[in-house]
Amino acid sequence: MNILLRGRDIPDLHKLDVYLKHGGYEGLKKALSMKPAEVIELVKASGLRGRGGAGFPTGLKWSFIPQNEPVKYVTVNCDESETGTFKDREIIETNPHQLIEGALICAYAIQATAVYIYLRGEFWDQGHALDGYIEEARKAGLVFDNIAGSGWSCPVYTHLGAGAYICGEETALLESLEGKMGQPRVRPPFPANKGGGLYGEPTVINNVETLTNVPWIMVQGAEEYKKIGTEQSAGTKIFCVSGHVEKPGNYELPLGITMRELLYTHAGGIRGGKQIKAILPSGGSGPIMRVNGNDDAILDTKLSYEDMAKAGSILGSASIIVMDEDTDIAWVATKAIQFFKHESCGKCTPCREGTYWLEKVCERIMANEAQLSDIDLVSNIAKNMQGMTLCALGDFAANPIIHTVKLFPEDFKKHIAQPSAPAVKKAAQPAPAGD
């Protein structure tokens, strides 16, 4: 069932008249007929959790905003930059009004002054298109002044970033919106508190996918939403499947379906009839899962926040990168660390220096020029980054090393045990643009 990717079923859903014909902005109108606190209670009762990766209960997040502050903000995180993630892009391309509507419901619930939609700069075309959709809604009286005749007003603006993964981290995003380098802030104060949010005002920061659920919840009710998914993971989720599958793409499915069903029933199975070797279930940043072929019971793991945690990984943003039996996991780890080295903002020493050295040693391993002790060295560097940085990027960067070395030691050792083997073509390339 599609709540979020309804644009696949309804042609031209991005146009306001089509969206209105299919129940568009009814959720907002319902919210406007309720008290703000009631809206928060409804979202709380639905069990909706943040889809950006952390899975924090959405209604609870909204309830942290102090009611007596005169200026408050909603910031929509559309920085979508995690390797393997491409869901928010499809939402803003095919169902943009549902996002705008969801953001406005949130704004009403916390009585916000304005909504800012922060898009990664590479969503240049999508960002400009979104400006057009907002303008369409404004002309129809659904955003900015006296929304739907309710007397309540709230502007919605877009803001384009300029190429920085770190701006998906919520406090770095706020810095970027304020016209600064996107570097994470020290917490507390948290964004929901006075002094911690955008321009120092209490701020809710929600992912695109999270907010796009909200209009459906308003119309259908919390109980209907809870019927989808598992007890602790309500609703549907967009799974971004990429890598060695026959049919990569976005799949919106109820939370709690198994990895096997996702990959084999929906994504067409492993490309070329090969065996599966590994899965990165949350892009480059989550712990890798070892899969010993297509019959491995680990593929029966349910895709929910709780079951993925039990399996030793995370659901995160559900950016599922699949690797077949021919994949060299040392190469995967090198690719991942090249990403994080490039994207480290440089503020915290363990992350800035750690990613630099991890990249160097991983590239040495890939060049078959490393010693056996270098494998311990990378694990050691990575462990010294964990929990030592202001934001999660330091942990994210450590994950691909720690878990690949632990689960696939043979893939690293083969670069050392056979010094006479022909050097594997380097995954290493010169630093990417802008480094």
Partner: protein, 162 residues
Amino acid sequence: MALTEKYGELIQKTFAKYPDKRSAVMPMLHLAQQEYGWVSPEGIQEVAEICEMDPTQVKSIAGFYTMYSESPKGKYWLQVCTDLACALGGADKFYEDLKAELGVEDGGTTEDGLFTVEHVMCLAACDKAPMLQCNFHFEEKLDMEKMRKRLAEWRAEAAKAK
């Protein structure tokens, strides 16, 4: 102050979005880059004056974000994603072939000044690998045959513009 003269209305509209002029620095840097083809020292100076900031601060922001180019680029700025998910879909080989086709190294510009080629991190199109962005517009599900066709189209477009 070419930008303020030419884009006065747009600049005021941008300021109106934020409670603070400094928040306009990123949109203004995008504007300067569009106008001059890159974020030139003159562009930095102009943006600093528009946003009432120190030019050094503006330069630090231009340096932090990868989409601001601090050197002139070719008319077509091709940024190929070679990050993990795309690499599993053959992006590394595609990138090598593209560089060979154009006779340039990573980050290089063709002699005719038409194409700059570089590799970048994830662009959120992993299901459509190999892919690139050309002047921030996505080109997806590429192979070299498709790419040669696009290159020819861009060359024809550039010749026409002359």
